[in-house]
Amino acid sequence: MSIIEVKNLKKFYKVHQKEPGLSGSVRSLFHRKYNDVKAVDNVSFQIGEGELIGFIGPNGAGKTTTLKVLSGLLYPTSGEVSVLGYTPWDRKPAFQKQFSLVMGQKNQLWWDLPAMESFILNKEIYEVPKDQYQKTLDELVDLLEVKDFLKIQVRKLSLGQRMKMELIAALIHSPKILFLDEPTIGLDVVMQKKMRDFIKEYNRRYNATIILTSHYMDDVKELCERVIIIDKGRVIFDGKLDQIIKKYANHKLLTIVLSKKIDETKLKTIGVVKEYEYPKAVVSVKRSETSVAAAKLLKDFPVADLNIEEPSIEDIIREVFTGEDVA
């Protein structure tokens, strides 16, 4: 059963365009020019309970706008949205107590006070019973390993520690749905891994539905079985992650280790040379011609080793975004 249903969602903006300089500013006082921006253009999807969805797209694709409509922050231009049976922009407290929004580039914690103060405030705002609050807090603190930082002013915490505290503040009321907008942005690789592990564990333990937007493909690969790709306000793919490869990757990569140095132009007769630094070469060939290309390489070239691979998810997604051929 779907707990999030989006049908033909549209969100259009008028954005003011100003000419540079003082004269441009004065002119705009009397005659303002506007650009129409189609941030979300006829998006539809359904999400079931407990799913962990990756919502990916290039900058300006409409990911965050969609999340903001789902969490009731924005009124749509048109379309229908139902989250847990509620219309989000009605902003009913009963609905708002069941979801949480974490934005990687914004924080809700009081800057000059220990994070604990913000947790207590959130407990009151969400009317979380005392024993439930303590239990949830203890579990989250344990999962995120932040016991020693609870009484330190937020402004004195590192970015990674602060993000962990943001997550706790967002989860103190045990929401059923989590909207995570770039939660790992700016974090180092170790902290990114810890955040991913936490999100995975939270999803597993509490069966929370999680929609995650991220520009880091490692986040998507590790966490999301299903991805929705959005570009220029439209959904261009909605399905399992491995289906992206089948749908969009019409090439394979042949990684060759040569036993003898050869001219690069000879490799070009096999396919598109992606990389050549002796003894290693990487050649991209059409999926349908892989076996023929492999046979030719082994027959006509001094090959010490040959490996056939799918292109990386990152390359495929880049191809989808830019419309360029990965080959």
Partner: protein, 266 residues
């Protein structure tokens, strides 16, 4: 009732947390603020004393003007304590997108936006105002009763509510039009109008009289009640109308503004 209790509890938590934050800053910060506010308070009294020595306001004796001044001080510092931070930060948050996190919370956004705690120095100066008011009552032998004090506090609270509604109405414009810095200043620039009794504006035409008198009643009416002076029914009607209209307009402006809110880019 449960809802009122919830708001009261939250209000308490927010304002205590803000005070806690003020106390966590270096002591010199508090000393600077308190000293600055106290100096402003004293200079204000001095300047006002010069003014009322030179000018008179119809229907108001000098002792009564002092009562009005101290009512003004209590009211102004009280408003600063309750709303100033909220008004400022709401405009900043709307334009930075941080307002999203307020809007996502299961409590009316007007409450969370505007009630964010106040500076320690404001509450101290408001307290000075009460002390000075008490001294004025005793010095000028102004007869007060429990009832007049109670009504004074009721009308003062109503005036603070009206001030809040006026502020929300102005700040709501930011939801649609983006950063309008002038709206914050406009909210508090109107304080010039309520520094003087409503009788000061009797020479203006009707339209201006309505606007200025409505604002002046924010402090005049509580002072009149404390002084047990007769209340003009026209002024009572004006005050009640101001209360109702400002409440309605602020709610309408805020809810309409939210429909236009477009957040900020991530």
């Amino acid at each position: 009732m449960r809802s009122l209790k919830h708001f009261a509890l939250l209000f308490n938590k927010i304002y205590l947390a803000r005070l806690g934050k003020d106390f966590s800053l270096p002591l010199v910060n508090q000393l600077f603020q308190i000293t600055g506010s106290f100096c402003f308070f004293v200079l204000h009294l001095y300047a006002f004393g010069l003014l009322i020595n030179k000018f008179s306001f119809p229907g108001w004796s000098r002792p009564e003007m002092w009562v009005l001044l101290f009512t003004f001080e209590i009211f102004t510092y009280g408003a600063f304590y309750l709303f100033w931070r909220g008004f400022n930060h709401t405009v900043i948050d709307i334009n930075s997108g941080a307002f999203d996190l307020i809007l996502a919370k299961p409590i009316t956004s007007r409450f969370l936006s505007f009630f964010r705690g106040g500076g320690l120095h404001n509450i101290i100066c408001s307290f000075f105002g009460f002390i000075c008011l008490g001294v004025a009552i005793v010095s000028f032998q102004i007869p007060v009763t429990i009832l007049t004090i109670f009504l004074f506090l009721i009308f003062l609270s109503s005036s603070l509510w009206i001030m809040f509604c006026v502020g929300v109405s102005f700040i709501s414009l930011n939801l649609k039009y983006g950063r309008l810095n002038s709206t914050i200043g406009a909210v508090f620039q109107v304080q010039e109008a309520y520094k003087y009794p409503s009788t000061a504006y009797h020479k203006f035409n009707l339209m201006i009289w309505i606007i200025l008198s409505s604002l002046s009643l924010l402090t005049t009416l509580p002072a009149l009640v404390l002084l047990s002076k007769p209340l003009d029914p026209k002024l009572i009607a004006l005050y009640i109308s101001f209360f109702i209209v400002s409440t309605y307009i602020s709610r309408f402006a805020w809810n309409t503004g939210l429909r236009y809110y477009s957040s900020a880019s991530s």
